[in-house]
Amino acid sequence: MTDIEAIKLSNAQIAWRAAQDIEDGAYVNLGIGFPEMVAKYQPQGRQAIFHTENGVLDFGESPAKGREDWDLINAGKKAITLRPGASFFHHADSFAMVRGGHLDVAILGAYQVAQNGDLANWSTGKGGVPAVGGAMDLVHGAKRVAVLTDHCTKKGEPKLLAECSLPLTGVGCVTRVYTSLAVVDIEGGNFVLREKIPNISFDELQAVTGAVLTTDGPVADLIVPEL
């Protein structure tokens, strides 16, 4: 039995893989946390334009420590910098960009993804203080809505499921999932396996996936650099 924890991709590697699918000049929103890493791994010669829902388009890297301007932050409330061509706008205009379908790609984290594209990423359903932010808007806003996630929870339970059990963020909204083991498209209500890491078998992958993995052609090797 393969030790999946030992062979799976790191978060940085998942982010790297997702970055390879972003075209030059694409308008992209990266969710708070782990998806933010995607910006670091843009392929040479390509430059996406990053949107943050609090009203900035075309921001760049974090400033050096001590150089932060707290009027210039991203949706995760981290300090950012501007690139030439940046612009500011208010929140209604910012979500007009999102809801109006002007983003090319939105990349979010997930608790669970269902084979019909349902996403659960805002509530563990356990009480405490609920918080949703912009996630429910972003899942309806982009031409492509991709998820970055570990293939399984920390307890080893599948996160790709026939149906989400946690409260939904959006219905039928996810188009592609980048996991620590595979790249999976959602098409016609099915998980379609596109790539898997080479040292896991299809059956092993299926065993840690909570819904049927289909294929409609060859499954490529998911090869990423050491990061």
């Binding site: 030059d24 000049g25 308008y27 430059q47 334009i49 949107h51 900035v56 388009l57 075309d58 501007l82 030439p84 061509g85 940046a86 612009s87 500011f88 706008f89 209604a92 205009d93 979500f95 007009a96 960009m97 999102v98 809801r99 109006g100 379908g101 002007h102 983003l103 309806h140 806003g141």
Partner: protein, 235 residues
């Protein structure tokens, strides 16, 4: 990424027959005359045009209508100093008119750009322009449901642009241009000046580049009002 296009002809070359085209401007102010004339040269027919007005004289939108390229016009005020082109086409049954109150027109366009398929407005309640539209009451007041407007193309006029399509406007020439930029699949901006990336202060960008697909420089754009005073005719 460079959204700049060499000529107005090239900028409009793929607009097909039957397209829905938003055209910015309020009367002549902010009207992209050169893009409209390029569309006349291009020759696309059976267009649905969305504009506040219906043209003036024999240039710009009036000329596009005069050439028989417009099947339907969605506008608020099809009158002008010299409305003869539209008036004759309309009275002859050659062009369809959808008359929309000006604020509703603006809001429908903004809704199209913002992903809001329908909204309620007090405007037109109880009038002939509300006939056939759903109504609803909120807190005892009556409202009309209106739908978003979207277009295949928007032809707009701006002042400055950079290569990413960030735009500024000139005075009241702003009017419908920024919201039409949001509501079209392909937004084509004619600008007086293309400036280097980073030259437009991020605080002063009115239309962020995400809403703009093509930028074409027309250094000294014509003004409809001046053309009409000179009794110009296009083509």
């Amino acid at each position: 990424m460079d959204k700049s296009i060499a000529s107005v002809a090239e900028a409009v070359a793929d607009i097909p027959d039957g397209a829905t085209v938003m055209i910015g401007g309020f009367g002549g102010s902010g009207s992209p005359i050169e893009l409209i004339h390029a569309l006349i040269d291009h020759g696309a027919k059976h267009l649905t045009v969305i504009n506040n007005n219906a043209g003036n004289g024999h240039v710009g939108l009036a000329a596009l209508i005069e050439q028989g390229q417009v099947d339907k016009l969605i506008c608020s005020f099809p009158r002008s100093a010299d409305p003869v082109v539209f008036t004759e086409a309309y009275l002859a049954g050659k062009i369809e008119l959808e008359l929309v109150p000006q604020g509703t027109l603006a809001e429908r366009i903004r809704a199209g750009g913002a992903g809001i398929p329908a909204f309620f407005t007090p405007t037109s309640f109880g009038t002939d322009l509300a006939i056939g539209k759903p109504v609803a009451e909120f807190e005892g007041r009556s409202y009309v449901q209106e739908r978003w407007l979207k277009a295949d193309y928007a032809l707009i006029k701006a002042q400055q642009a950079d290569a990413h399509g960030n735009l500024t406007y000139r005075m009241a020439a702003r009017n419908f241009n920024p919201i039409m930029a949001m509501a079209a699949t392909t937004t084509i901006a004619q600008v007086s000046e293309l400036v280097p990336l980073g030259s437009i202060d991020p605080e002063h960008v009115i239309t962020p580049g995400i809403f703009v697909n093509r930028v074409v420089t027309v250094a000294n754009p014509q003004q409809e009002e001046i053309l009409n005073r000179a009794e110009a005719v296009y083509p």
